[in-house]
């Protein structure tokens, strides 16, 4: 059975799952579907048969130690890397076979905001608006709106190479939000941001989810994940070792109370003896 979301987009219906944040149970659609996803770099397997769905209206936290395969997975979701095997569907479209349709639905914020340094933020947003075939009037409106929200309106005409890291990060997020995507993918979005900007981003992600978008976010800050994410996936050595709400993860780990404990027990934390050895 399929659910018609709008005139063009059809998505596969998925099973009803437990309601999030106290909302009543209702059929939800998966905006991101990873099926047996694999990525090899030569002999090294970076991502190993991952199966995962991220639904509309949820913020999904994707956690894992350094080199676990988070960024590789994210890059395959947004079309930056071609999978070795398996499929990625974004808003029902296969990212390899229907890349244009899939990319129309998604926005991406990379961990390092490598933007065009010789454009201003305003020009960057206009460029992105044109790439996503937005109407000129809507582009202008959206640019002003986003620059205001991210407090970039005063520097919107300055070249990006004069921006601080935090300002570039905000410009990058503004660019990802320009076309009001159904799927927003963020790789470490709060790195290098001041507390106010980090809070702003968290609020925006929450609001996007409440409006029905799917937010797929990686972070190393477990407190953020615990507080902000509806569901959490933990990847280790390229394999998805756990997925679920905080309650489900706690149940899996026999009552471990904090996400940090759960994370460390699933991925293997630093041993005390090793620490003592280093500090001796």
């Amino acid at each position: 059975m399929t659910i018609k979301l709008n005139q063009q987009i059809e998505c596969t219906e998925v099973k009803n799952i437990q309601a999030i944040n106290g909302l009543a149970e209702e059929p939800r659609v998966s905006f991101i579907e990873l099926h047996d996803l694999c990525k090899n770099y030569g002999a090294k397997t970076a991502v190993n048969h991952i199966n995962l769905k991220v639904y509309s209206g949820e913020v999904f936290g994707f956690l894992g130690p350094n080199g676990a395969g988070k960024t590789t997975t994210i890059k395959m979701v947004v079309g930056l890397l071609q999978p070795t095997a398996g499929t990625v569907k974004v808003n029902g479209y296969d990212i390899v076979r229907q890349p244009i349709q899939a990319k129309f639905s998604s926005g991406f914020v990379p961990d390092t905001p490598n933007l065009y340094s010789k454009l201003s933020a305003r020009e960057l947003l206009r460029f992105v608006g044109d790439l996503y075939s937005m109407e000129p009037g809507r582009i202008n409106h959206r640019i002003e709106e986003l620059l205001r929200v991210f407090s970039l309106d005063d520097v919107g005409d300055n070249l990006i190479d004069s921006y601080s890291h935090g300002m570039q990060q905000k410009a990058s997020l503004a660019a990802a939000l320009m076309h009001d995507p159904k799927v927003l993918v963020l790789d470490e979005p709060t790195v290098g941001l001041d507390p106010k900007s980090a809070r702003l981003i968290k609020d925006i992600l929450r609001q996007l989810a409440e409006r029905g978008s799917a937010v797929f976010v990686t972070t190393h800050i477990l407190e953020i994940a615990e507080r902000m994410c509806d569901r959490i996936g933990i990847i280790n050595n390229g394999e998805l070792v756990a997925v679920g709400t905080m309650d489900e993860l706690r149940a899996m780990q026999h009552g471990e109370t904090s996400l940090e404990d759960i994370f460390l027990s699933l991925t293997g934390g630093a041993e005390e003896t090793e620490i003592a050895e280093v500090l001796r």
């Binding site: 933007l115 454009l119 202008n140």
Partner: protein, 589 residues
């Protein structure tokens, strides 16, 4: 409770030890870079070293030849004393070394002090700050010192040999060179700090790259324009020039003291020589230490890092409706489909605003002007030589000169294509993710990049064709034939170079001048030259040869357009078709 005692090492390592440690770090980086380089790069590096040695030997031989020319009849007729002229040269060469080292060190110090981003690490390490600065200055001097040794030293040595200077001239020459270089680098470090206080370091680097490229091309091409005049100098002109040179060797100018001291010592004027030598060494040493101390203080106090008056002007403003006012490139953007136009506009803005990019393009403009002037100076007549060439050959050559303006237009366009098309994808750099995650098909991306390279090249090629043709006054039919011919040939060049750029794309550059890997550039140049030779024969062969066979030139033009156009169009589309599938995987290496 155990009391942990921390013993602070009381080592009294000298400044020299720290400087050597830091220089060793640079050496390790260089050696490691060479070891890990690709075989082709290693071969090129070794070739460069051999070439440098060859150039040094060449400079020595050339200097000897020039010195022999000083005894030529024209010099004798002009009443110049060759010995006086030769004794002036060391002073002028050392003054030039000082100025050039100061200018060249500026760029290296800008990189070392501001752009390399290792200063925080080094200054916070347990190393005397003086050692850090001395190392930075030495690193700035060393590459320039090698150049001085390659170009300047052979000349100074050959003068010493020719004039039979005393043996002490030779070791003292190296001492004076080293002191002058240190003083120059010291002043340069202060200049860098003063400039960066006003203009951001990155911008300064862009301006320097632009000015450097501009000057190099301007100077090199000036010799083309001046070639005839230099060959036909009169005895009076030579005498005037020689007098001017000798007047520069004025004892009141401190810059020439070093040279004067060497010449005086070389010729046995010991008192005068040693006095000038002492003055040179003391002054250079004092300048170096004062500059070093001041630079340290300015850097450590934060003065050199704090910018003044740099509130950026909103000179790239867009109106509230987002259209950049009065921008001709915007028209192009509006005429094209939204996505293609957006990419073309974005690329134009990036190229225009980055002076480092512009420095790569400026060469095409200057060379076009130089060749245009040379063509006009020839008056449309081929060189007659000794007059033994067959009449038919001279007739073809005469007709060929008519198409000269077309070839210059094509050449200028090619220079631009080679720059823009070859790096059309590489110029995206680490920001390529924006395009790759956007809903843009490979066809649209290739179209946008093609137009980004083709439009300015065509405009420039046509501009040169029309300007030179207006002055040169070829038949109107030739100009009308030239317009589509240039467009088609440039389109083919764009297709070939863009395809090569896709194959050898490099998104990890940090310096825009290193976007394109050397191998791709060489291959691109070879293929482009072959393609141009073939298409030039196809386009212009028939119009030139048909009249000799009694067939109308217009029919020849039509035949040329069909044959050349067909090949050009194939070269426009076929290479792009071959690399289209590669677009999907760019940036995944």
């Amino acid at each position: 409770m155990t009391t942990m005692e921390v013993t602070v090492g009381n080592r009294s390592e000298s400044l020299r030890t720290y400087v050597l440690k830091l220089l060793r770090l640079r050496q390790v980086t260089l050696v490691s870079g060479f070891k890990r380089a690709r075989p082709m790069i290693k071969v090129l590096d070794i070739g460069l070293v051999l070439l440098t040695v060859g150039v040094a030997i060449g400079c020595y031989l050339l200097s000897n030849a020039i010195l022999r020319e000083l005894n030529s009849p024209i010099i004798v007729q002009s009443g110049i004393n060759p010995a006086v002229l030769m004794d002036t040269v060391p002073a002028l060469v050392l003054a030039a070394v000082f100025i050039l080292t100061m200018l060249a060190s500026f760029r290296v110090l800008l990189q070392g002090l501001y752009l390399a981003r290792d200063m925080d690490f080094l200054v916070s390490a347990p190393i005397p700050i003086r050692a850090v600065f001395v190392t930075k200055l030495l690193e700035a001097i060393l590459p320039n010192f090698i150049l001085v040794l390659v170009f300047g030293l052979p000349m100074l040595l050959s003068i010493g040999v020719a004039r039979g200077y005393h043996i002490t001239y030779y070791p003292l020459l190296l001492v004076v060179l080293a002191f002058l270089s240190l003083a120059a680098a010291g002043i340069s470090s202060l200049l860098v700090m003063a400039v960066v206080r006003v203009v951001p370091a990155k911008r300064v680097a862009e301006v320097l790259a632009f000015l450097g490229a501009f000057l190099i091309i301007l100077v090199s091409q000036s010799f083309n324009l001046m070639g005839d005049k230099l060959e036909n100098l009169s005895a009076d002109q030579v005498a005037t020039s020689a007098n001017l040179i000798t007047k520069l060797n004025n004892p009141w100018i401190p810059l020439v003291w070093g040279g004067r001291s060497l010449v005086d010592i070389g010729t046995g004027n010991w008192i005068s020589g040693l006095s000038f030598l002492a003055l040179t060494l003391l002054l250079s040493g004092a300048v170096f230490w004062i500059a070093l101390g001041t630079a340290e203080k300015l850097y450590y106090s934060g003065w050199a890092s704090l910018q003044v008056g740099t509130t950026r002007k909103k000179n790239h403003q867009s109106s509230s409706h987002g259209e950049t006012n009065g921008d001709s490139t915007n028209l192009i953007g509006r005429l094209l489909p939204s996505k293609v136009g957006a990419i073309v506009l974005k690329d134009f803005k990036q190229i225009r605003r980055d002076l480092t990019n512009l420095s790569q393009v400026i060469g095409a403009l200057i060379m076009g002007i130089v060749f245009g002037v040379m063509l006009l100076r020839a008056g449309g007549e081929p060189l007659a030589g000794q007059g033994n060439a067959p009449v038919q050959f001279m007739a073809i050559l005469q007709s060929g000169m008519v198409y000269g303006s077309m070839v210059i237009g094509l050449f200028v366009g090619w220079c631009l294509v080679a720059r823009l098309a070859l790096v059309a994808f590489s110029m995206e750099g680490r920001g390529y993710w924006i395009l790759k995650t956007a809903p843009v098909s490979a066809d649209k991306l290739l179209t946008a990049k093609f137009l980004m390279a083709f439009i300015p090249s065509l405009v420039l090629g046509w501009f040169y064709l029309i300007v030179i043709a207006t002055l040169h006054k070829p038949p109107l039919s030739t100009i009308l034939y030239g317009l589509p011919s240039i467009a088609l040939i440039l389109a083919g060049l764009c297709g070939i170079n863009l395809a090569l750029g896709v194959r050898g794309v490099n998104l990890t550059w940090t310096d825009p001048r290193k976007m394109e890997n050397g191998v791709g550039g060489v291959v691109g140049m070879i293929i482009s030259i072959i393609y141009q030779l073939v298409t030039l024969v196809l386009f212009f062969g028939a119009p030139l040869c048909f009249p000799l066979l009694g067939i109308s030139e217009n029919i020849g033009m039509l035949a040329g357009l069909l044959a050349g156009g067909a090949v050009s169009l194939v070269c426009t589309f076929l290479p792009l078709k071959l690399v289209k599938s590669r677009i999907a995987t760019i940036g995944e290496e």
